[in-house]
Symmetry: C2
Subunit: 142 residues, 2 copies
DNA sequence: TATGTAAATGCAAATTATTTGCAATAAGGA
DNA sequence: TCCTTATTGCAAATAATTTGCATTTACATA
């Protein structure tokens, strides 16, 4: 669903923030932009990063992720399994369906649900700043 | 919204599970059933428990909560702040709106949203086992 | 009511994901 | 190329929750 976003966009987010483009950051960003594996957690990213440069450290992965998140370049999701998972904050808003058997994360969007949420909040006298909607399920048997 | 549920119902949940009704459990359950403070976290419960019996321990609070959760007597929610919060699993299903300024937790239910979720999952070939819907917002200015 | 046994407890230590202090390194403007 | 300062890697700190183990307690039975 999300519109394409490549390494360069994430690198620019850092540059705009006046941050230095270091080798570790370049590698981490490249991994985040990879459409191959989506919603990786910090350890996933670390393991892949080490393959490109064995002296990268886990704290640097966390620090880079936090920095990118603070600049709105990536989003962090905390699903029920504990760890945080990350994804480039490009395309339009979407929510997630998690396959309880495989751990696969499927994205979806529902204008209707979004609208209903706003409506409910308004009725309660609130304005939504952000929300979290996660469906946990299993593939329907044929 | 939830239908009233008192200490006895929770105590019975333990009895049914063949568990012993100990003093710490009695106290913890009484705190959970208290309509006064809803969605307390483990530390909230521990602090209140200690007032009734100073030798209660935090591990016992956690162990009791886990046991009650496993037997479906209480529900655990992990909101964005990290800690888990608990509530008796009595009344009908509901979701939560969290006041970002005060931390207050407001309950709501939406048949429409629940139905839309099912629909979305079905279209994706899934059956929902459980879900998490949390709205984070601020009171609308008058 | 007294008693034996397994379940439950309290304490201290372990766990897990993430963060932080600090000395060494490296990015990038001058 | 050089200088300054941000960034790094490492080790140690956090914070919430869990676990090992010796001691206590609930409660079924006598
Ligand atoms: Mn996503
Ligand atoms: Mn609730
Ligand atoms: Zn949404
Ligand atoms: Zn719901």
């Amino acid at each position: 669903m999300p519109t394409p976003l490549d390494s360069d966009d994430l690198l620019n987010a850092l540059r705009d923030a006046g941050a230095r483009i270091t080798k570790p950051r370049r590698i981490i960003i490249q991994i985040l932009a990879d459409k191959g594996d989506e919603h990786p957690d910090a350890m996933d990213i670390f393991r892949r990063a080490v393959r490109q440069d064995s002296r990268i450290s886990l704290p640097t992965v966390y620090r880079t992720l936090k920095m990118l998140e603070e600049h709105g370049a990536i989003q962090r999701h905390a699903f029920v399994d504990g760890r945080s998972r990350y994804e480039p904050a490009d395309g339009p808003h979407h929510d997630h369906l998690i396959d309880m058997d495989t751990g696969a994360v499927i994205e979806f969007q529902s204008e209707k649900i979004e609208r209903l949420q706003e409506e409910i909040a308004r009725e309660l006298g609130y304005e939504i700043v952000h929300h979290r909607l996660e469906l946990y399920g299993r593939k329907t048997k044929v």
